[in-house]
Amino acid sequence: MSDPVSALNGAEFHGLIDVADAGLTGMITLRGNLGAAKAKKAVKAVTGTAVPAVGEVLGSGETATAWMSPDELLLIVPYAEVAQRVAKAETALAGEHAMVVDVSDARAVLTVTGSDAREVMAKLCPVDLSPAAFGKGDFRRTRMAQIPAALWMTESDQFTVICFRSVADYAFALLKVAAQPGSAVGAF
């Protein structure tokens, strides 16, 4: 048995901004009635946060909860602990109609860092990423050029971006193009 590898396997790029593979990240999809007491308990048990509001991400770093849709959350946990935390959620949700499933390997996670990070992302995502409209704690499911993506800010100059695993190379190449020298927009 060999250790799992992330889709981008540690790739990095340094340009107008820095793009890096965030490495193996534990991700759990939780679907259910998010208003139910058991769902709240399950989220608390897995990530220690409350149930986030629309467009919100709670928690930080390796452990967070993001709002995906009216009946879906994304629970972010250390990769090595996914199975154990899935079990925790399932225990908390016993008897409740819900779905808890490991999606860690289905996705790639990248970090985009630098003073121009907002502008680089705004070249690819139809989201208002100006500092007035988007900051830490905001979470958005959107598209990045031609692929679905989700993003949030982990620092004032850093985004974490999630896309599907199969298009990780495309996402990485896309960010490289958007961060080419001489392409700063100067809008934010």
Partner: protein, 1003 residues
């Protein structure tokens, strides 16, 4: 001759000279010049040939409205045709070539067309090329292809890059003239986010040229002050060289930013397309001067009066040494005054108004310029350059009163507000009789989702003239836009503007008013498409009453400039010919973009590596290293085959099939859809989605199922595994994963919203490997782990366990007819698992196989393939899959549709196997002919080939097809048509060619 003046030229840096080339000739200009101003400074008045008659043409305008000065810019990978010289900023090393002439600009063979012009009237092409019919292909089209077209198509790959940028703002101001800046200032004081777009490199619009003052300072200085204040405001973003290209629904606006057109050596993208969402929009797009329609108004040297003034003030360039001005308004006097003061001789001002103008006329007269009122230009003479002007009475037919020699003519027929952006999304116009112009109707703006207007026009674009009126209109527009965007505007007074009072213009649509036919036939309306007054009048006589029809019949306004100069004059002529007022004729439709934008900007980053997303499985790179021959499947690339060094792809496929049948093969099946369906109603849900019964499936077991659309047609198939009482995993086709997942969500969110089911698309969570062949079990056992015996894991069962230390789920399913295990591991271990199988398989003769081997093996077994046997018109019953359609269920998607008469028609073509008599391979898609011919004289058909291969296992061609009453005609021989008159004889046989009893997969 046109020349550089000793003074003026506020935009150029006279201390520096830069070199450029036009038609190969080395020329010089100054930084700050446009290509047009630099050409004029070098006395290059003639810059191209017209589209239809190849008449010499010169620069007419100074901005985006220019119809004539279009050039081929650059070389090789930087080449681009149809670039407007008037909006091209000069840079060192620029190269440009003029267009639409042969062999040279000075001597052009096509110019003979001008002598034929009386034979080339409006609609000539429509009338001429109808008959004889055969001439179109062999005579007319080759001739037209040879002659038509302004610019050349680029031959090389574009060397530049492009990008998009998504911007959001409360108030978007389009236009950075005085009105735009003032509107932005007024809106920004409310705290609203304001974005201002200006298409040129400079702010202030016409004000610095036209003079006047506001805020207590001369216009140029006042603009700088206003700009400085805006730059200090955090909520204001100013973008020059960015054109507002189009306004669309929901406040969506495209901005076209030109970043390095003027800096060809700079790094970074050439153009950036701004994709803007604005809550409110202010269009402060100014106005464009109208030409006058007189004979010879297209001779190089005839120019818009405002353009002539722009060249003098902005670039220090005079269009001639001796100038005649023709006008119907006061504004053109500014040009005469400006040129006179710059030392240029102004031979005459011809004012079509019988009483002339006001204060500006007096000023001109005081400078000693001769002014003739009630006079018009009867005709301009000159070939490649204005030589003289014949003067006549405006109220007449063109009888010459006098000839005046001159080398340039400034013309002004009044001003038309730029209403394009107001109109793009449905804003209506009203006709202002006083000023003879169409302006935005404030009561009928483009409306948003709430029914309220989201666009306001301001300043000259709103039909205002004079700085004071423009400033107060812009202040009000900015304030109203901020308020409509949800902000509290501040009540600050508009700055007072001062400009010289003007007398009203007198509409002049034809000069002279009763111009004779030979003059009207030389009075150009549309310079770029060569449309004259006589053409529009002819169209009216021939019954083209709608302005839209006249436009298309005459091509008026259909060129790349979209009639910025010609439209109003043209529809005034049409109205006159039809004897109706101008508003009754109306305008043609304004469509984005305002001026052409580059294809590169539209594509943005999507080229080269990132033209389209390429989906890759965890084993993709391994396949690549093995030299896989790829097949696109959706956005995935799957190995078609793994040819070895020197091996042909076809031979590789044969080898892969044989090896899998005889030993063991590996298939990367990761792309197959894997959708988790969970909930107390999951079984009920799947019973509705699949034609067969899924709710009776036992946990631990698998079942093949079919999915149909509501119309009964087969759309997907795959194996469903029941994980536990509440949970199923549905395998879909590779191409079906996303759409089937979406379809499941749609049914659950819309029709069956009260069913307790959740779905999740886990396609990419797992890498899946099919281990296939008689030695598959041995290979897996050699890695050690779970019990894979037929007893522990029978056919159509699944189990979780470990193989070689990898956590996995193993499905005993087979799409090849061989002993087969499909094994799913987490994607992050997919490559390692694959490599472990390859390594352990060496002693068993393992080989990877691609999609073609997969296809052949399934065809040998008579298994259908979605997309081959189905094409959106095929139902499962056509394919002999009645066994997979439950008779016990009340309903499933497609059930009722399949009961309709056409679906139960016994004459539907049905699936059979086909075997050529000589063992050859049938062509894919070939039709089986039937006796007789149809109404179109084509041979009747009775079937077609859906899949066809050479079977390495059987050593002959095998195929499947849909045939009329096929299953009842076993043994019959049909004739199939190939290309090149070839025919193939094939016998109808059972579609299962290999291991009919299914013994091999069940061991």
């Amino acid at each position: 001759m046109s020349h550089r003046l000793p003074d003026l030229g506020r935009l150029i840096d006279r201390s520096k000279r830069i070199g450029f080339r036009f038609n190969g000739a080395p020329l010089a200009g100054h930084p700050g010049d446009t290509l047009a101003s630099a050409l004029l400074a070098n006395d290059r008045m003639m810059v191209g040939r017209s589209f239809k008659y190849h008449r010499p043409r010169g620069v007419v305008a100074s901005g985006a409205e220019e119809p004539n000065a279009l050039v081929n810019m650059g070389e090789g990978p930087g080449f681009e045709p149809n670039q407007r010289a008037t909006t091209t900023e000069l840079f060192d090393g620029l190269t440009a070539r003029s267009q639409n002439h042969w062999p040279s600009l000075e001597f052009d063979v096509g110019a003979v067309n001008t002598y034929l012009s009386r034979f080339l009237p409006a609609g000539f092409y429509y009338k001429m090329f109808m008959y004889p019919r055969a001439f179109w292909k062999h005579v007319y089209e080759p001739f037209i292809r040879q002659s038509a077209g302004l610019g050349q198509a680029p031959k090389d790959r574009d060397r530049d890059t492009y990008e998009h940028f998504y911007a959001f703002t409360d108030v978007l101001v389009i236009g950075g003239g005085v009105a735009g800046l003032q509107a932005a200032h007024s809106a920004a004081q409310s705290g609203a986010r304001v974005l201002v777009l200006e298409q040129t490199a400079h702010w202030g619009g016409r004000a610095p040229v036209d003079g006047g003052s506001f805020g207590g300072a001369p216009a140029e200085e006042a603009v700088e002050q206003l700009l400085e204040e805006l730059r200090q405001m955090d909520n204001v973003t100013l973008r020059s060289r960015t054109m507002g290209a189009g306004v669309y629904d929901h406040g969506y606006v495209l901005g076209y930013e030109r970043l390095t057109d003027h800096l060809p050596l700079a790094k970074g993208p050439r153009h950036r397309l701004w994709r803007i969402r604005a809550a409110q929009i202010v269009t402060a797009t100014g106005a464009i001067e109208r030409p006058l329609s007189f004979a010879g108004n297209d001779v190089p040297g005839v120019m818009l009066a405002s353009a002539m003034r722009d060249y003098a003030v902005n670039y220090g360039v005079a269009a001639g040494k001796r100038i005649v001005v023709a006008t119907n308004n006061d504004d053109a006097y500014r040009t005469a005054i400006c040129l006179k003061e710059a030392g240029v001789e102004v031979a005459r001002i011809l004012d079509a108004r019988s009483r002339g103008g006001g204060a500006l006329m007096e000023e001109a007269r005081a400078l000693g310029i001769r002014i003739d009122c009630g006079r018009a230009i009867g005709k301009v003479s000159g070939g490649k350059r204005v030589a003289k002007v014949m003067i006549c009475a405006q109220d007449g037919a063109g009888g010459a009163l006098e000839e005046v020699a001159c080398d340039a003519v400034a013309m002004s027929g009044g001003w038309s507000p730029v209403v394009h952006l107001w109109s793009h999304c449905g804003g209506k116009l009203l006709w202002d009789d006083q000023q003879a112009l169409f302006r935005p109707d404030p009561d009928r703006p483009p409306t948003g989702a709430d029914g309220a207007g989201f666009v306001r026009a301001a300043g000259a674009a709103n039909g205002h003239a004079g700085l004071d009126a423009i400033l107060s209109d812009a202040t009000a527009a900015g304030r109203a836009a901020a308020k409509a965007a949800g902000f509290k505007p501040k009540r600050t007074a508009a700055p007072r503007g001062e400009s010289t009072e003007e007398q009203p213009l007198e509409p002049v649509w034809l000069m002279p008013r009763e111009a004779e036919p030979h003059l009207r036939a030389k009075s150009w309306l549309d310079f770029q498409n060569d449309v004259k007054v006589s053409d529009v009048q002819l169209a009216a006589r021939e019954g083209f009453e709608s302005v839209e029809h006249t436009k298309r019949y005459t091509t008026l306004g259909m060129a790349t400039d979209q009639g910025k100069l010609s439209n109003i004059n043209g529809l005034a002529i049409l109205s006159d010919a039809l004897g109706q007022p101008i508003p009754a004729t109306g305008t043609t439709t304004f469509r984005p973009p305002y001026t052409p934008i580059s294809m590169g900007a539209i594509a943005g980053e999507a080229r080269g590596d990132v033209f389209q997303p390429l989906r890759k499985t965890p084993m993709h790179e391994w396949h690549e290293q093995q030299g896989a021959d790829w097949e696109p499947v959706g956005h995935w690339r799957r190995p078609y085959a793994f040819p070895r060094a020197g091996e042909r792809v076809h031979d590789a496929v044969e080898r892969e099939v044989k090896n899998t049948r005889q030993a063991v093969g590996l298939l990367d099946a990761s792309t197959l859809g894997k959708i988790l369906v969970k909930g107390p109603h999951a079984g009920r849900f799947l019973d509705m989605l699949y034609t067969n019964m899924m709710s009776t499936l036992k946990p631990g077991r698998c079942r093949y199922g079919l999915m149909c659309s509501e119309n009964g047609f087969l759309i997907d198939d795959g194996v469903v595994a029941r994980i536990d009482e509440d949970t199923f995993l549905c395998h879909t086709t590779t191409g079906g994963a996303d759409r089937i997942h979406a379809m499941m969500e749609e049914w659950l969110q819309t029709e069956w919203w009260d069913w307790k089911v959740y779905v999740a698309n886990l396609t990419e969570q797992f890498a899946q490997v099919a281990v296939v062949g008689p030695k598959a079990r041995e290979l897996l056992n050699s890695l050690g782990g779970m019990d894979l015996s037929a007893e522990a894991l029978p056919f159509m069962a699944w189990a979780d366990g470990q193989i070689g230390g990898f956590d996995c789920r193993v499905y005993r399913i087979s799409f090849s007819g061989e002993l087969s295990f499909e094994i799913a591991v987490r994607a992050g271990q997919g490559l390692a698992f694959w490599e472990a199988l390859m390594q352990a398989g060496e002693t068993f003769g393992v080989m990877p196989y691609g999609t073609e081997a997969l296809h052949i093996m399934r065809a040998e077994k008579g298994f259908i393939m979605i997309g081959d046997e189905t094409d959106g018109t095929v139902i499962p019953q056509d394919l002999g899959l009645d066994w997979a359609i439950s008779k016990k269920k009340d309903d499933y998607l497609g059930k009722r549709a399949q009961e309709r008469p056409h679906m139960t028609d016994p004459n539907r073509w049905k699936l059979v196997g086909l075997e050529t008599l000589d063992g050859s391979v049938l062509p894919d898609g070939a039709y089986a002919v039937a006796p007789g011919r149809n109404a179109n004289g084509q041979r009747n058909t009775q079937g077609r080939v859906t899949s066809t291969y050479h079977s390495p296992t059987l050593g002959k061609g095998i195929a499947m097809g849909l045939v009329l009453n096929g299953p009842d005609r076993m043994g019959e021989v049909l004739e199939f048509l190939g290309t090149d008159d070839k025919t193939f004889k094939a016998r109808i046989v059972d579609p299962v060619f290999y291991d009919k009893e299914g013994e091999k997969q069940n061991v």
